[in-house]
């Protein structure tokens, strides 16, 4: 079990809460803690309301930080929390097995599904193996292979999106990163089985979309989804990525769950309790599970052909164009 209280990694804006947490801990640890019960209760109350206040109006750049919190649950965590009898399936049958994308059979609620999700890794060794959640082409090809397997047996597909972006490296280019993602976009758009996607952390550009073409797409309330990371955008448009320009870019990119919902780019926001998924793992997992079960139940009523048509119509509508004067 990983540490879940966020103490080992404090986000800058969370500092006041962390300070209160320390005070509470210190009091609790005292031998005569009982005589401070009233103060403890008061402290916890103000801590909770402070946390709620901080998380109520997070700046987009702070949302990005929460989304990247090292204790934030990942695909493997959600699998263990909401999925019974998970059977991981490895490999793309052509090149190898990319640990940056996990795929496998599992049961969620009453549904048998295929689960596909980005994995960043928790320990240093895992992170290195997963390239910090940046998949290689064989990862996207593995995902597609398993999704086609799901289609064959009419299993709904559940994807968890959590990547800074597809891996930008020499080997990834040699093995066709762009082609792998492009093929996923085309094929996901016409798989004759329900596809539901949840952005659980970072939705970084094409690497995220490569698992993100679905009938229903939701974002956790402290996740981000955009065409480029704030740093990447700042480096190009502001010519320099620093604290200030990253913040400006994060705001300009409209990358929060609420922004994406407002623009009709996603279908739902799954709310995390104040303090974020790294503090409320089980609660967030339960909400994701409930959402998935509901969506799949609804989508299963449609024939495969109908799903594909509706999915296409939904994608086809996205865009904002004007007429030239």
């Amino acid at each position: 079990m990983t540490k879940t209280n966020g103490y080992n990694y404090a986000l800058p804006f969370e500092q006041p809460v962390i300070d209160l947490d320390r005070q509470i801990e210190t009091l609790k640890d005292r031998a005569d803690a009982n005589s401070y019960a009233e103060e403890l209760a008061k402290l916890s109350e103000s801590r909770d309301s402070l946390l709620a206040k901080l998380y109520r109006d997070l700046e987009p750049w702070d949302v990005v930080r929460v989304a990247r919190h090292p204790d934030r649950p990942q695909t493997s965590d959600y699998i263990s929390m909401i999925c019974r009898d998970f059977r991981e399936l490895h490999g793309d049958r052509h090149f190898g097995d990319d640990p940056a994308i996990i795929t496998g059979f599992g049961r969620i609620g009453p549904h048998k599904v295929m689960i596909v999700g980005h994995e960043k890794g928790r320990t240093t060794a895992e992170k290195v193996a997963c390239h910090f959640g940046c998949a290689h082409p064989e990862g996207y090809r593995k995902a597609l292979l398993k999704m086609k397997l799901a289609e064959k047996f009419r299993l709904p597909i559940v994807t968890f999106i959590d990547t800074p972006g597809a891996y930008p490296g020499v080997k990834a280019e040699e093995r066709g990163q762009a082609e792998a993602i492009a093929v996923n976009l085309r094929e996901m758009s016409r798989l004759k089985t329900p596809i539901v996607c949840v952005v659980i952390g970072e939705g970084g550009s094409g690497g995220a979309l490569g698992l993100g073409v679905g009938d229903r797409v939701a974002m956790l309330s402290n996740s981000w989804y955009s065409v480029i990371s704030p740093e990447g955008c700042a480096a190009i448009l502001w010519k320099e990525a620093n604290e200030e320009t990253n913040q400006a870019a994060a705001t300009a990119l409209s990358l929060t769950a609420r922004d994406n919902l407002r623009h009709g780019l996603i279908d739902d926001v799954i709310e995390e309790a104040p303090g974020g998924a790294h503090r409320h793992r089980q609660q967030v997992a339960d909400r994701i599970q409930q959402w998935l079960v509901d969506q799949i139940r609804e989508l299963r009523r449609f024939k495969g052909q109908t799903l594909v048509r509706l999915r296409y119509e939904k994608l086809r509508r996205i865009g904002a164009v004007a007429r030239a004067e």
């Binding site: 930008p168 490296g169 990163q177 492009a182 758009s189 989804y225 065409v227 448009l237 780019l265």
Partner: protein, 283 residues
């Protein structure tokens, strides 16, 4: 079509007289690759390819259409479609100001021209991207025009040719741009099911979200010599791996050797190459 004169390559210099901001002005120009001083007219008449070293200059969408299509045969579609600013995006300049500047520079509403026309007498739907318009980036307009071009090709049972030149998705439309990748790829999926022929032509540069969507989905993928083609830009990769990249990395020939491009085709052969593929695979 009957009054169209027979096409020869001698037609090209007159036709490329307008909108060539991609290339430096002046009577003499210097080839960026071999540094030869070249008489402008001679480069023009050579389809903007250096006669000395075969360096392929970047050309605008207008020039591309003039070079590829039978003279006077191109009928543009959706020309009035222009970018909106759905996010109210402001960096150091507001997005609308960037749009206006690009429109003034190129004389185009956005970074792609689409339409119907003939290539050596074969009717096609063509889309030509314009790198001079905000780096050929794909926003809603590019995505929508490409999707409509695909649908037109499907409806009329015509081969589709897309000439890509793009730095990737357009940041100023953020999520909207990203979703154009899915939209164009999905449209190509339907076109594929309908048995349509899609010839994707990759030119310098084709990177990012355009490569990772429609550009890499051609039934046949052609590339111009030495064109930069990739997912991540070379600078990003260098920063990631912290070493300089090998010579020729992400160039057209490299992509061919890695198995992702069918043929590297010099610009002067593109017309005959495309028409020959249509004869093999078209209807």
């Amino acid at each position: 079509m009957s009054q169209t004169p027979p096409r020869t390559w001698a037609d090209v210099p007159e036709l490329t007289a307008r909108g060539k901001k991609a290339v430096p002005e002046g009577l003499w120009i210097q080839c960026p690759a071999c540094s030869a001083s070249l008489f402008r007219r001679s480069v023009e008449s050579n389809l903007w390819v250096c006669p000395t070293c075969q360096y392929h200059f970047r050309v605008s969408a207008t020039q591309r259409i003039e070079q590829l299509m039978d003279p006077g045969s191109f009928e543009p579609m959706n020309v009035e479609m222009a970018p909106a600013d759905p996010l109210g995006f402001v960096d150091i300049k507001p997005y609308p100001a960037r749009i206006k500047a690009a429109q003034k520079k190129t004389g185009q509403n956005d970074g792609v021209q689409t339409g119907l026309g003939f290539i050596k007498g074969r009717k096609v739907v063509l889309a030509a991207m314009d790198f001079t318009f905000l780096g050929g980036s794909m926003g809603s307009v590019v995505g929508e025009k490409i999707a409509r071009a695909v649908e037109t090709a499907e409806d009329r049972d015509l081969p589709l040719v897309i000439v890509s030149a793009s730095g990737g998705a357009r940041m100023m439309e953020s999520g909207y741009s990203l979703m154009q990748m899915a939209k164009t790829s999905a449209a190509l999926g339907r076109f594929h099911d309908a048995g349509g022929l899609f010839i994707s032509v990759l030119t310098d540069p084709t990177t990012g979200g355009v490569t990772a969507s429609f550009a890499m989905l051609g039934d046949v993928i052609l590339a111009e010599p030495n064109a930069l083609i990739g997912f991540a830009g070379p600078r990003v990769i260098e920063q990631t791996i912290r070493q300089t990249l090998p010579e020729g990395f992400q160039r057209a020939e490299f992509l061919r050797d890695c198995g992702f491009v069918d043929r590297v085709v010099p610009r002067c052969d593109l017309r005959s190459e495309i028409s020959s593929i249509i004869d093999y695979a078209g209807k």
